[in-house]
């Protein structure tokens, strides 16, 4: 059903993609520029308009204070846990951040929260899909790193909502990849998915069995990826530049961005070649060059790559499997193109890893497969079902700051646990519960998820109330909490204070602020675009009337054009997109010969020594067909 189209989105640290299941095959939907990858870069242009993707990349160098990349690293995090990131990345936090507030990043003189910045990327992907289908899209499956915690997942879901997308499911990236990988595989196999992307690392071990994709264990690091390698190389270049050229460009956003670009090029080159030249042209004509051999490079990045070993071992241990029991190790993520990474995977799993998938696209393709399953499935997916796990244990802070685990990591989700609480003081009517996520023994070392305040407990002697609290991790890995007083059976009132993240009201506000968020808006936008197109054509026609080509038309032709022109003028102010579209198309058809004549006249006039400008052919001829479809940029 066209209105039920669900898209699959890979919202990556470096690049994002949107895919869709078409005729039993997932395909990536390209952007307007024809490219599949939309760089996860958001910039503010000169007119304070948001620019996303390839078009935004130039701002990273030209006006670095008006552009941002790798926002995913900030999703669901607080000020105190991004201090390391701030040293390595040119994130500029808003000056007026209050303690406990959701981060805001400065772009020019505006500031946005990470979910809003991610929403800009999502909105671009949504538009790409809408352009592709010619119809609105409102539902999506979005992938997240398997090792994302509750706050990071919630932030991603919020981003979807702000972008006008109903997020039907968050799917873990390695799991999504396995769906694309296993689409044609019907036999039983145990597979390890090693996913090293731009900013995150995940390892997931799955059992594939007759279409069931059962995750047995997962582990990872949400702050480990290609970015870390780039930062090492950037640090070396900065040192060199200071040493060799006696220039300290650390404070220059533009210089650092230029170096970063050169470093990424060198990194990519070193995946194919044994050596490369790191070549940076700095402003003021200074140039920094350095030869880097593969050997030097590998020595440098080995510590980064080796950080993946711990999670791999832990996942294997949790799965209760040895390397020999893994049938295939699948590589996902752009950073798995690095030969050293492949070597390490080969060592860990004692086999040549499977690299037959496009590591940049496979996650998005898998998201499209999951989207297809959720929309009721097709011939290709009807037997497929994904059973995923929670990557982190969930616990409650106990007296003395310890953690009582209530849901263990690698439990299949959805998963629930019921705990009973009581009061410690006579007449106590409130009980506070602190929920944390993580594996450490002390609550302060775990990730604080939320503080729940159970209110309205009937006053009773201490220890008598029995408050039953149910913790439910849904299929997205997001926590829901409900409570009731067991003696009275009364639903207890819970006040949730998320430790990190936006409140519902904040998200609602952001949705309202964003212009196009629903089907209605898609239609509005279509009409607006068509109107602009109509105006362009009508204006071009107006001018053409004054030119010599107009006279060359038969009177019949002129009459026809005139009628169609009146027709278009009549429908343009109204909200009926189809009517405007049809009027534009027929007028376009009718003016085809006029366009040709104008081109001829223009050429002849030019040959007579006149320039195009003075040939008075109007604005039309700047495109091949003067009254051709206007390019609408939105």
């Amino acid at each position: 059903m066209a209105t039920d189209r669900i898209i699959g989105i890979d919202l990556g640290t470096t690049n994002s993609l949107v895919a869709y299941m078409e005729n039993d095959r997932p395909v990536v939907i390209p952007g307007e520029d024809g490219l599949n990858l939309v760089p996860s870069v958001v910039a503010l242009d000169e007119r304070d308009q948001i620019i996303v993707g390839n078009a935004a990349r130039k701002y990273l160098i030209e006006t670095p204070e008006r552009a941002v990349y790798s926002v995913k690293r900030l999703m669901g995090r607080g000020v105190e846990d991004v201090q390391d990131e701030l040293k390595l990345f040119p994130f500029r936090l808003a000056d007026d951040l209050a303690a406990g507030e959701v981060l805001r990043i400065k772009l020019g003189n505006k500031s946005y929260t990470p979910p809003e910045l991610s929403a800009f990327i999502l909105r671009q992907l949504k538009r790409n899909a809408e352009r592709y289908f010619g119809a609105p899209v409102t539902k999506a499956v979005i992938t997240v790193p398997a090792y994302f915690n509750d706050a990071q997942r919630q932030a991603t879901k919020d981003a979807g909502r702000i972008a006008g997308l109903e997020v039907l499911r968050l799917v873990n990236e390695p799991t999504a990849a396995s769906l694309a990988y296993g689409l044609d595989k019907k036999d039983t196999a145990t597979v390890a998915v090693y996913d090293l992307g731009g900013g995150t690392f995940d390892i997931s071990i799955l059992k594939l069995h007759e279409g069931i994709f059962e995750v047995i264990a997962t582990n990872g690091d949400t702050h480990l990826g290609g970015d870390d390698i780039d930062n090492l190389l950037i640090a070396i270049a900065l040192d060199d530049i200071q040493g060799d050229l006696d220039l300290d460009v650390r404070r220059s956003g533009e210089a650092v961005a230029t170096i970063r670009k050169a470093v990424i090029e060198a990194k990519i080159a070193l995946s194919a070649q044994d050596e490369t030249i790191l070549d940076v042209e700095l402003s003021g004509g200074k140039r920094y060059q350095r030869k880097i051999t593969r050997e030097q490079y590998e020595q440098l990045v080995r510590p980064v790559v080796e950080r993946t070993v711990g999670p791999v071992r832990q996942a294997m241990k949790d799965a209760g499997l040895t390397a020999k029991q893994i049938d295939e190790a699948v590589l996902v993520g752009g950073s798995t193109r690095i030969p050293l990474v492949r070597k390490l995977v080969e060592e860990q799993f004692q086999r040549t890893p499977h690299a037959g998938l496009n590591p940049d696209e496979v996650v998005a393709l898998g998201a499209a497969v999951q989207a297809n399953i959720l929309s009721g499935g097709s011939e290709a997916t009807k037997e497929m079902l994904l059973l995923d796990v929670t990557p982190l244990s969930l616990g409650i802070e106990s007296l003395g700051g310890g953690v009582v685990k209530i849901i263990h990591r690698n439990s299949t989700i959805p998963e629930s646990a019921t705990e009973h609480f009581t009061t410690g003081v006579e007449g106590q009517t409130n009980v506070a519960i602190h929920v944390v996520q993580g594996e450490r023994e002390l609550a302060k070392d775990c990730r604080s998820l939320a503080r729940f305040d159970l209110k309205g407990i009937p006053p009773m002697p201490a220890g008598l109330p029995r408050i039953e609290v149910k913790f439910l991790l849904d299929a997205n890995g997001i926590l829901h909490v409900s409570a009731r007083e067991a003696r009275s059976g009364k639903e207890a009132e819970i006040e949730v204070q998320p430790s990190y993240g936006l409140t519902d009201e904040q998200v609602e506000g952001m949705i309202l602020e964003s212009f196009d968020y629903a089907e209605e808006d898609f239609q509005k936008r279509q009409v607006v675009e068509a109107r602009i197109e109509a105006d362009t054509i009508l204006a071009a026609l107006e001018k053409a009337r004054k030119g010599p080509a107009w006279e060359q038309l038969t009177s019949r032709e002129r009459d026809d054009i005139g009628k169609l022109e009146t027709g278009l003028k009549a429908v343009a102010p109204h909200e009926d997109y189809q009517a405007i579209r049809t009027a534009i198309d027929t007028l376009n058809q009718a003016t085809m010969r006029l366009a040709e004549l104008m081109m001829d006249t223009a050429v002849t006039t030019a040959l007579k020594g006149k320039t195009m400008e003075t040939a008075d052919v109007g604005e039309g001829p700047t495109s091949s067909h003067p009254i051709a479809k206007a390019e609408i940029n939105n």
């Binding site: 999951q370 059973l387 299949t412 998963e415 019921t418």
Partner: protein
Amino acid sequence: MDDTHNFDKSGVLVSTPSKPVTTECWSCGAMRAAHYCQECGKVQPPAPVDYFAFFGLPYKLNIDTAQLERDFYALSRKLHPDINARANDNEQEWSLEKTSQLNDAYRTLKDPISRTEYLLRLQGVQLEEQSKAATDEARKSGAAKKQVVPADLLEEVFELNMQLEELRAEKKMGGDDPSLKNDLQQHRQQLEAKQAAMLSDLSTAWNWWDAIIDRTAAGEAISDTDRTAALDSMLSIINRRTYIRNLLREIDEVLES
């Protein structure tokens, strides 16, 4: 987990094989199994059942885990939120609830230790307490109850604790005695072997318990003493295992520090 169970008048869980509760499908009205309607496939509202009942299993500890896995997959295909993503809000809620029950039940029953612990809890045995035998032992020796050392481990644990102390002290001084470490490694291996052997002890206890269930099902009257003895034997194995697990953790901590 919801602890609503069928108890007989002496407070013991009724041990006849539990049949899935058969109810009417809310949607098509036909009489169907509890989890989903076999007629129209719709998920049914969740009812509080224990994990054995969820899978329609008797309260026995020898379980065909391959069959359990097949049942888990088959039920997942009917109950999972992904399958019911287009159903109405109520059904989606039930689907979420039932799948979480299914996952809890499967995870608990597939693992021999958690399955045993779960049955003990169903039978009203508090795992935090030591078995009756161990409590008596504690009273005799005057040791704190929580710290009861299984008798056959006493000597070993004594020696082990000395070595752990020694190595801790060494490490504090910056030393690192390889022979001490070696001894600890050896202890570790012995303990691991003991832990592995425990599974076969457990299997004997299971057979004992399962026979009681079978005899009950056949209409035989089982004395409380018999029942308690079987449960106690499982409890003591579980306690020993927990004890050894903690020792292993302690060794690893010291070795890795």
